[in-house]
Symmetry: C2
Subunit: 130 residues, 2 copies
């Protein structure tokens, strides 16, 4: 798992860097999540996006509960080595846990954050009722 | 300058959230930078991207030195209110301080980060010689 390319990102004090996922087909920016070294290694070795869940404190295979996995086409690093960009194929066309295509569904409009994107699937259906 | 929409982002312990800039014309993800409350307010009031420079500890009007300003078409917030997405018109077609279109010019390729994007303008010309 360990390799020198994993040393290139400037992991922050918590061992993380922000990782943007962009839909390779539509060009939409879907999500911003966080990766640690283990998540980046798992992403590259499996070909599917893995992140570090800051709220759960755990490695998180995107789509493990929803089946909305992200197949990774490209992994990119920025000039300062402190941000990652993934180009992905988004399974189901839904990246957001609210059942929307993308997490960035609120637009600032005359001093108000307005929801611009429809809910494509009920989260209770995606994740199952408790 | 103060308004309730500025309370929506969940500013982190340093008062910051990550802000992605995406080219509204090409769809390319250009940069990931950081905003504080003041930067977001200045972005919206001026119509041009402002960030907080963590290295300089100062408000930073993108393009103030390079003239490569980012005219903002849309400001978006994600589901968890902890990341911002700007859709921008990138002046000069150059967002990166290295003289490239975008900061994400390194792609992981067989265990190596390879530079895939050309330098469009010499940084010494962009920023002037000392």
């Amino acid at each position: 798992m360990d390799a020198s390319w994993l040393d290139a990102p400037r992991w922050n004090a918590d061992g993380l860097v922000p990782a943007i996922a962009q839909d390779a087909l539509t060009g939409r920016v879907l999500t911003l999540a966080w990766m640690n070294r283990e998540a980046l290694a798992a992403t590259v070795s499996s070909g599917y996006a893995h992140y570090w869940s800051r709220s759960r404190g755990a490695l998180w295979r995107k789509g493990e509960a929803s089946s909305h996995v992200q197949k990774v086409r490209e992994v990119r690093l920025d000039c300062d080595d402190d941000a990652i960009l993934l180009l992905v194929e988004q399974a189901g066309g839904i990246a957001c846990h609210t059942g929307r295509e993308r997490c960035f569904y609120k637009r600032l409009d005359d001093g108000q954050w307005r929801e611009t994107d429809p809910v494509l699937a009920d989260p209770e259906v995606i994740y199952g009722r408790p």
